[in-house]
Symmetry: C2
Subunit: 196 residues, 2 copies
DNA sequence: AAAGCTATTTATAACTG
DNA sequence: TCAGTTATAAATAGCTT
């Protein structure tokens, strides 16, 4: 018998709270169901008891509800399965990249003569050969750059000699400015600060 | 005035359905709120009208509700915001790893004398110095290994000479087996397949 | 604790302005 | 179409079993 209207505040007595929970929980779920049928509305209700048990009602697939909810610009929810798949993919990429970095770092250390204590004599031999080959390549490249530099200097010298030999009136006619700048440009790019 | 109990089936008259929706919707949301307060329960209610408008109630963060729901082994939903945050983190890691790999790869190519065409003379000079230094380190290490090998050989030679000078009865008393195996072990680990 | 009962409150269908 | 009213159905607090 209802004596006096109920105060909407936490019921402290656990037994009473438990009983009220069971009754009102059913009430809410029933009302939700009725509303969905009577008014052709989509409704989802999720209830967790204070003991952590789940009671739910959904007039349709909850997934759909989430997507609809999402479209309303609220915080968005997507399937965990989908996310997991993507996560694993990223994780795989990440792992293989870490492996590659470690490999490259070890390789680098060996190439600069560090971390060699773990190498066998044969490995050292192989590394030495590689280094000698690389060194030859570097030296060849240096020689090539120097050769280009010398070539540019000769071209410039020739150009200057030709210019000074010509009469001053012809200078603009020949379009000489472009050749001059080509030579200079080549020189600057090739050897900004030469040391040898 | 309620004449007769209501039939729980779709209300066909749109106006009537609309009115009933508004009233019952408020009823459900109110009941949900009361239940959450009275019984200290977590409740979420989502209602979409047939016109697509959203009405909702949640006793706490809906995000939390989803995670709780997830833990109950249902098909799982988690917050997209959360996922996005994690994704961006992974993406950031991934990008920086890609950068590092590219840097290391370029560095490697230069160290083995490839991709040098883009290097300035000064850079080549620097690489050459590094290589010469590394080469010295490798050669020193090879010399060190050879020296250890020779040392081991001498130790073995001495051991064999001592052994053959002793009378055969003393062999077991001296515990010579252990010295012998030490020498051999050191030799094998240091230089498995020597070439020089 | 779970199920049933009943006095009452609460929700709401139909009506009204 | 929207509040407000009212008669009635439905929900439920406190009780009993």
């Amino acid at each position: 018998m209802m004596r006096g209207k109920v105060q909407i505040k936490r019921i402290e007595k656990p037994t009473k709270r438990q009983v009220t929970f069971a009754k009102r929980r059913n009430g809410v779920l029933k009302k939700a169901h009725e509303l969905s049928v009577l008014c052709d509305a989509q409704i989802a209700v999720m209830i967790f008891s204070d003991t952590g048990r789940l009671y739910e009602f959904s007039s349709c697939n909850l997934q759909e509800m989430m997507q609809k909810y999402h479209k309303h610009g609220k915080d968005v929810h997507i399937s965990k399965l989908e996310v997991q798949k993507y996560m694993e993919e990223l994780k795989g990429d990440s792992d293989s990249m870490i492996n590659e970095i470690q490999f490259l770092q070890l390789y680098d250390r060996k190439l600069v003569g560090d971390g060699l204590n773990s190498c066998s004599y044969d490995e050292l031999d192989e590394i030495q050969k590689q280094m000698e080959k690389s060194l030859r390549t570097v030296r060849e490249r240096k020689v090539q750059l120097l050769a280009e530099y010398v070539e540019n200097l000769r071209a410039k010298e020739k150009y200057l000699l030709d210019e000074s030999a010509k009469p001053s009136t012809d200078k603009h006619k020949e379009g000489t400015g472009s050749l001059g700048s080509e030579v200079e440009t080549g020189l600057c790019i090739g050897l900004p600060q030469v040391r040898y």
